[in-house]
Symmetry: C2
Subunit: 308 residues, 2 copies
C-alpha cells in the first residue's frame, strides 16, 4: 500500500492528504436540515449529515489528491451511528481510488494491539471464515507502550501489505511535555524516531517502508532531524494551515527525491467555505467547490515551497 | 464516579476489576454454536457470541466486584457489530450497578481528544439535542501527546463527574523502551506521574481524584514510587495473573487507608475454566461458575497480601 500511496502522489503531483474530520459546525445547513428531516436530531441524523458532507467533498477533490485521513474520533463521538458513517466514508474513498489513512492513534500491548491491527488493517477470524472490520489502508499508532504495542501492527502490515504511521513528534503546543524530554543527550522523539527506523527497515515497499511516522509541521527544525533519522519512512505531516504550519516549513520533511512526506490539511480544506480566503467566493451550498479550490491552492503553496 | 468506585470497593471488600476482554478462543463452544446457528459465521455471529459470553460472566460475578473493564479493541476488531456488543456490555454492566472502565487508551489533541471524551464519557450535541455515545464511567487515556490531549478529558470528567486513568507505567515487557528513559535524573514515567498528580489535584472527589493512573503489577518497585508521587490518584493495576503479577507484588500500589488501587484480571477470570487450576472442576458449560470461583480466589489472594 505504500507503493500505491507513492504512485498516487506522483500521479497527482500533490503530497497532500485531506483530513476528513467533520465537525457539526462545519456542515452546511442545507445538509443538516435534510439529514435531520429524514432521521431526526439524533445520532443517526448526525451520522447521515456527516456522511453526505464527506461524500460531497470527496466527489469534488478525489481526482486531485492521493489520500484521505478520516479522524475516527470525530465519528466515534456519535456512538455506533458515527462508526457506521466512518466505515461508509472509508469504503467510499477506497472506491474512488484514494488511499485511506485511518487516524485512529491506537496503541496497546500484545493481543490487544493485535486486535486493533486486525480490526483496522487486517481480517478477523470468525469460525471458519474471516472478515475485514474497518479495513483502512494505513493507521496511525501511538508508541508509548513500546515495541509490544507496535509489532502486532507490523505483523498485520506485512500480511496485508498495508502500513502504519507511528506518532513521533506531534503538532500540538504541549507535545514537548513528554516527547521533548532529553535522555542520553537526545530528546525522546529522536529515540522514538530511531526505533521507527528500525521497524521501517524490517518491512520495505519498493522505495519506502510500510512503517511511516507522524511529525508535526509546526516543528520544522525537528522535522529536519527526524527526516535524516528515518530516511525510509514516509512522514505524515499534520499541523499545516489551521494549526499554523506554512508551505516553507515543509521543505525539511521531504527527501531529495521530492518524496517522503505527505501533508495533511483538515479544516483548511473541508471547511474552506467558512474561511476568510474563500467565504466571499463560495456560498455554503458550494462548500465542496471551496474545498476543491483550497486543495488547488495548497498544492501550489507546497509546490512553490519545494521548488525553492 | 470516583466516589461510587470507592463505595463499591468498600461494599464488596474487593479492589478488583474484571477485564471483559473476550477472545473467540475463550468462548465455550455451546455459546458460539448457538450464536453461529442464529447469525451465521459472521461478524454479527461473533458479536452475539461475545455478548452472551459476557452476560454469563457478569451475571455470575456482579455481586462480588465493584467494576468491570471492557477492552474495546477486543470488540472493535469485529467492526460495527463488535462495537454494538461493546455498547450492550457497557449498558448491561451499568444496569447491574457496576462501575464501567472503558479500556480505550485514546489520546489525541484539542478538538479531537474532546471528541473522544465526549463520545466515551460525555454527551455530544446534535442540533438542539444531546446524546451519550458509549457512556462508560471511566476511560483509560494515553498521555504521549501531553496536556493538550488530556485536558479535554478532564473537562468532560468535571462536567459529568466521571473519571480517567492515565497510562503512566504499563505492564508489558517493552514498556521501558520509552517510559523508563531517564531525563533530568528521573525516568519518564515519574514525570508523567507528577503531571498526573497535578491533573488529579484539579478535580477531586471526596477522598480520591477523578484522575487516576495505570501502573502495571509487573513493576512493583516502580509502583511504590508512583504511589507516593500520586497520593490522590486511584491506580488501576493491570498485569496480575496471566501477565505474571502476584498478590504480594500489589501491596505497594495501595495507600495506608487500604484504598487507592484496583487490580485488573482479564483472562484469569473470564477464561478461568480453561486454566489448570479450574479446568477439572468446571466444564465449559459452567464457565461462569469458574469465573466466580476465580474472583473469590483473587479476592482472598489480595486480602492476604494486604493483611501482611
Amino acid at each position: 500500500m505504500i507503493n500505491k500511496l507513492v504512485a498516487n502522489i506522483q500521479k497527482t503531483n500533490a503530497p497532500i492528504v485531506v483530513g476528513l474530520d467533520p465537525m457539526m459546525k462545519f456542515i452546511p445547513k442545507h445538509i443538516t436540515d435534510k439529514a435531520f428531516a429524514e432521521k431526526g436530531e439524533t445520532l443517526e441524523g448526525a451520522a447521515e449529515a456527516i456522511w453526505q458532507y464527506n461524500k460531497g467533498i470527496v466527489d469534488a477533490v478525489y481526482d486531485l489528491i492521493p489520500a484521505v485521513k478520516p479522524q475516527i474520533a470525530m465519528y466515534e463521538q456519535f456512538g455506533i451511528p458515527g462508526m457506521v458513517a466512518f466505515k461508509k466514508t472509508v469504503d467510499y474513498c477506497k472506491e474512488k481510488g484514494l488511499v485511506v489513512i485511518g487516524d485512529i492513534k491506537r496503541g496497546d500491548i500484545g493481543s490487544t494491539s493485535a486486535a486493533y491491527a486486525v480490526g483496522h488493517l487486517g481480517k478477523v477470524q470468525v469460525g471458519s471464515k474471516s472478515y475485514y472490520g474497518f479495513d483502512e489502508d494505513f493507521a496511525t499508532v501511538n508508541p508509548y507502550l513500546g515495541s509490544d504495542g507496535v509489532n502486532p501492527f507490523i505483523d498485520v502490515c506485512k500480511e496485508e501489505k498495508k502500513g502504519i504511521f507511528v506518532l513521533v513528534k506531534t503538532s500540538n503546543p504541549s507535545s514537548g511535555e513528554f516527547q521533548d524530554k532529553v535522555t542520553d543527550g537526545r530528546p525522546l522523539y529522536e529515540i522514538v524516531g530511531e526505533q521507527v527506523n528500525k521497524w521501517a527497515e524490517s518491512c520495505m515497499g519498493d522505495s519506502y517502508s510500510y512503517v511511516g511516522a507522524v511529525v508535526g509541521a509546526t516543528y520544522p527544525e525537528m522535522g529536519k532531524v527526524l527526516r535524516d533519522i528515518m530516511p525510509k519512512s514516509y512522514i505524515l505531516v499534520p499541523g499545516y494551515g489551521a494549526q499554523g504550519g506554512k508551505g516553507k516549513d515543509l521543505v525539511h520533511f521531504f527527501n531529495k527525491d521530492g518524496l517522503g512526506a505527505i501533508v495533511n490539511s483538515s479544516r483548511g480544506i473541508i471547511a474552506a467555505y467558512q474561511a476568510d480566503a474563500y467565504k466571499e467566493r463560495f456560498a455554503p451550498e458550494n462548500y465542496a467547490d471551496a474545498s476543491r479550490q483550497a486543495v488547488i491552492d495548497m498544492q501550489m503553496d507546497i509546490a512553490q515551497a519545494l521548488g525553492n
